[in-house]
Every structure is written in C-alpha cells, then in structure tokens.
Amino acid sequence: MKPAVLHWWAQRLTAVILTPLCLWFTFALVGAIGMDHASVIVWIKSPLISPLLILFLLALFYHAQLGLEVVMEDYINNDNVRNRCILLSKVAMLAAGLIAVLAVLKIAMGL
C-alpha cells in the first residue's frame, strides 16, 4: 500500500474506532467531575477501563497526527517549513501519546 493510501485508510479506521470511545470517555469524564484522586485511580485501575483507555489514547494520538499532517500539507507553502512542522508535530504527538499510555500503565500496575 502506498503511504498516502495508508494515511487515508488509517485516518478513517481511527475515526471509526474513536466514535464510540470518544462518547464513552466524555461521559466517563462527566461522571468523574469532582472525583478525588483515589477514586480516579480506582477507576483507571479496573481491568475493563485501562485497556479501553489505552486503545482510546493510541487511536486518538494517531488520528490527531494524521489530521495535523493534512492541515499542514494544505496550508504551509514553503517545503522546508512544512516538512519541519510536520516532523515537529509527529515528535510532539508521539511523545504525548507515549506519556499518556505510560501514565495509564503506571496507574494500572499500581506503581
């Protein structure tokens, strides 16, 4: 598969995955309003929530990166600036996604 075709499909696939997960996560957050730290830990630790949360984060950061790339491809004229911006956003999204997943793993394993 060519990179552009892969990009197109990945964007759609992550969108489909994110549709139910976004709704679930939003209502979970609404339920978590005013929760103290210990209850949030208990919630994230439960065996159903942590894998779902990690799947949500992976799809979210991948989808975000794919989208940012398209926007930058369309609006940044200068080749050099565009490529640097895309690279920067890839690094930022990868780092933030990694931090988020590691944070969930740390909580889930009780470290």
Partner: protein, 132 residues
Amino acid sequence: MDRAKRPLSPHLQIYKPQLTSVLSITHRGTGVFLSVGALFLSCWLLAVARGPEAYASLQDFMNAWYGRILLYAWLFALYYHLCNGIRHLCWDMGYGLDLKTTYATGYAVIVLSILFTLFTVYLGCNPQGAGV
C-alpha cells in the same frame, strides 16, 4: 506545472463563505484544537499518575473559570468533529453527496453538536447518575 507555483487549496480569503466551506474549515479548526486537547489529556493522566498534589492542582485549573471555558470549548469541538466526521465517513462511502442532502446534514451537524454540548454540560452540573 512547476511545483513551486502550484496553487494551495483552498484559498480561504478569496472564496465567498458558504455553509459547506465554513463547516469544512471548522472541521479542520476543531481538529487542530482537539489535538491541543489531546496534549492536555496526557498532562491530566500524568498528573493522576504523579499523585494527589499534582492531580489537585490540575483540578484547580480545570475548576477555575478559564479552565471551565476551555473544557466547554473542547466539548463542543469534540461533538462537532464527531458529528461532522460521521458525515465525512458517509461521503467516503458514497452517501449524501448531492447538494440538498449536503446542506441538510450540514445544518443537522450544527444543531446536534450544540444540543449534545448543552446536554453534557447539564449532566456535568447534575452529576448524580451520570457516571459510567
């Protein structure tokens, strides 16, 4: 055509705004804004992982008026991007591409995302029974 002289798409400052183009650019705008939200989400998870003090200071930020405005803006952006994203997925499958349907679903996206936002804010203000 010479690569350097290729036109960029779309020229926002030249086209007359129409519902379709405004919705399209809003989809991109909310997408970029939600990417910032994703960065904030990873900060929130990091704060939870670090302990009660870090968590409390982030909660204080979110409970302040500016934090609340940010949260509501992200909420609306999420619902908008979600509804319009489903519209895009339908187009990808070849449904709803004629002008009349495009406008109808466009208006539906606006109304639904506002209603979903209001409903969620209402649930957030009346937390009992809203937990998942």
